[in-house]
Symmetry: C2
Subunit: 425 residues, 2 copies
């Protein structure tokens, strides 16, 4: 097994087999730049770039690692991503002296992760959220429309999705303020205004788009994965009561746009190749433009932890897996662009809540508590139906290899109390 000269524990998310990209700022000061996570360290690629260590690669002269977002690197496409990845791997290898034996370069380029602030990895032009888990769509359908009409007729024919809000995508660690809004309890005569009472999380997988496509030129499914720069975890915070009242007929709006949190390290698709698996059988057979050759699913274990401000440590409340997704990332990309919609470097897509067949694999409180009828009992005797102020939600995920993990780190966020309604009106 390949090893780095940097010590990496077996349960670390960031061995040399991973090498996820992120944007960071040293806590000691200086501009944002691009790095790669290795063990407990960040490798500052802008330092290596400035020292000429990418001059012999396809990246020569691009200066992409000194930027404050990954967008320009994303735009270069897979051959450039592969060249960069190979070079970083070579530089970090236990067998290669270039960085290992150059103390000055190591001191300049390797920072403990605790010494950096991680930022949003890209300027997100557009954010699209799908609804690609059949278990999730079915559970929600049963709760809202009954068992007979659980899945809408279109669901098995196309990856249902909608446009989300790009401006409010925030990086892990950002506190999330409980939204104010309109809601109408079923027994109320008129809608009321106030803080959301049914605040939820959604466990999702996200991916960043690379080169993109021209308006009017769909991405063919065979080429769809060439558009995937890398993957992150997504918490698509949701206000269920606001959603129930507002979503007809144009879909979720304020119920979702107050915040969407993502993990800061973008895991390259290439790092996930050993964990590619066959996805769920698709019946009916998808239309030709959605028919993906080969395996389109990935075996990525996911966990959600909840920690109230009265708890001493986080408690796991959900364990799921990306492989449960019915529609693959490639299918979602092909569908998104089939009408000609252009994707741009830095666009973010997300899968929608990832639920599995088991009760504890349901990826949001709506399902875990079955719309509030089955509260979760926490270790400290607290109960939860929806999120309360002070609650911290942390999601993590990884692929388990032989003696190593390809990890996503985490996406975490704490619920702040709503603004006093009076402050708004």
């Amino acid at each position: 097994m390949e090893r780095s000269f940097i010590e990496v524990r077996p349960d670390s998310h960031f061995p040399i087999q991973n090498l996820p990209y992120g944007v960071f700022r040293p806590r000691s000061g200086g501009p944002a730049r691009i790095g790669v996570a290795i063990g407990d360290y960040v490798l500052d690629l802008s330092v290596l770039e400035d020292a000429g260590h990418f001059n012999a690669t396809a990246l020569a002269g691009t200066g992409v690692f000194g930027k404050h977002s990954l967008n320009e690197f994303m735009a270069l496409g897979r051959p450039a991503w592969r060249a960069a990845r190979e070079q970083v791997r070579r530089l970090l290898s236990a067998d290669a002296p270039t960085l290992r034996d150059n103390t000055a370069l190591r001191d300049a380029a390797l920072l403990p992760q605790s010494d950096v602030e991680l930022l949003l990895p890209a300027q997100i032009g557009d954010y699209t959220d799908f609804y690609a888990s059949k278990d999730h769509a079915t559970n929600v359908g049963i709760m809202f429309r009954g068992k007979e009409n659980a899945l809408m007729p279109n669901w098995v024919h196309l990856p249902v999705g909608y446009h989300g809000r790009a401006s409010s995508v925030v990086v892990s660690g950002t506190d999330v303020r409980r939204p104010l809004g309109q809601m109408k309890p079923p027994d109320a005569a008129a809608p009321m205004f106030g803080p959301c009472r049914q605040l939820d999380f959604e466990l999702e997988l996200g991916w960043f788009i690379g080169p993109g496509n021209e308006l009017g030129q769909p991405v063919q499914i065979e080429h769809a994965e060439e558009q995937i720069f890398g993957l992150v975890l997504v918490n698509d915070w949701s206000a269920r009561d606001i959603q129930a009242w507002e979503y007809q007929p144009l879909g979720p709006f304020l119920a979702k746009n107050f915040a969407t949190s993502i993990s800061p390290w973008v895991v390259p698709l290439d790092a996930l190749e050993p964990f590619r698996v066959t996805g769920p059988a698709q019946d009916p057979e998808p239309l030709p433009y959605l028919k993906q050759p080969g395996k389109g699913a990935f075996d990525i274990h996911l966990e959600v932890y909840l920690e109230s401000d009265r708890m001493v440590k986080p408690q796991i409340i959900c364990a799921s897996n990306v492989r449960h997704l019915y529609w693959s990332m490639a299918q979602q990309i092909a569908h998104h662009s089939i009408g000609g919609c252009n994707l741009r470097p830095g666009d973010l897509m997300a899968s929608g809540t990832i639920s599995g067949p088991d009760k504890d694999s349901r990826g949001c409180l709506l399902e875990l508590t079955w719309r509030g009828t089955e509260p979760i009992r926490l270790d400290n005797e607290e109960e939860r139906v929806w999120l309360e102020d002070g609650d911290r939600v942390t999601m993590t995920g990884w692929c388990q290899g032989e003696g190593y993990r390809i990890g996503f780190g985490e996406v975490t966020g704490r619920v702040l109390p709503a603004q006093p309604s009076g402050a708004v009106k």
Copy 2:
């Protein structure tokens, strides 16, 4: 009445009372920069800025007019916009010698509009589309759900809206390719794939956001208009058959994201002040956060023209008015941000289709042909139910003052045939 030394015909859209901003590139070459429309000319503000003519204003040292988008100017806020507008007005006034009598400066700063290419006025971070016309929502509701359930219960309580696609917003003059997609005719057993058969336009008003707000800090309705930099016309092209099949339960997606066209000149809100009117009575009374003090509507006449490739001139098929909108721009902004969603400079919002009470004031073919049951007969004996390849749709609009017009110019686009389906698969 105030006049410019530039000759402006009474029916021109661009008298000195208007002064809309746009981004242009001279056809003779050179980078994109910012200008103002005056009569048949563009006033190049970057030339005036470089020559120091904004040094005595709040814009001194900002360099905002040499940029390739209006975003930085939008971010400055209304006091800066007012200062710029006053200065441009002074410079263009018939009574002021500074520009009028400086031949060299005039030659450098004034270009015939025919000598420039107009570009997208802003880098649009997020695009949001509302559904603010009661006549439109009612007509659509009657067609799809019957007269008894025409308006959803939420409609009179909040401005229904959804997130659109920012990447595919294009400037007037851009041809629009008919989208491919999935649709399912009511009598078909399974969905089919192919070119959209029910291509439509939507007549809308759009507005660009100025300074924006911090995440978690709603824009109060009293301050909502301070966020409006200026207004444009919007054609929100729609694929009705794709929409009917895909939109449950998360709203329109591919039916809208293949293209949205906007007019290139952004009309300042200040130019529209003389045309402010009282909007439709709102019953029930809106919740306090949506209660706008004063008049929130504007009297802007709108027209839609259709020209097939067999016609010798465009034919008017709709005449509507912005004053028909039930929800005001300020109400839409206040609602958009009430949950804490952050708005950013350059964000685009649009009203949704603007229909009036009369048959010929319906702002889309879906309504004008009553879902295809009442075809439009064109002057050359052609009929239209939906848009055909080669059709050009042109929208225009203006406020009629005493002897002058505050105009929006136009937003136009021609329908290109779909990609051969075989090219996609």
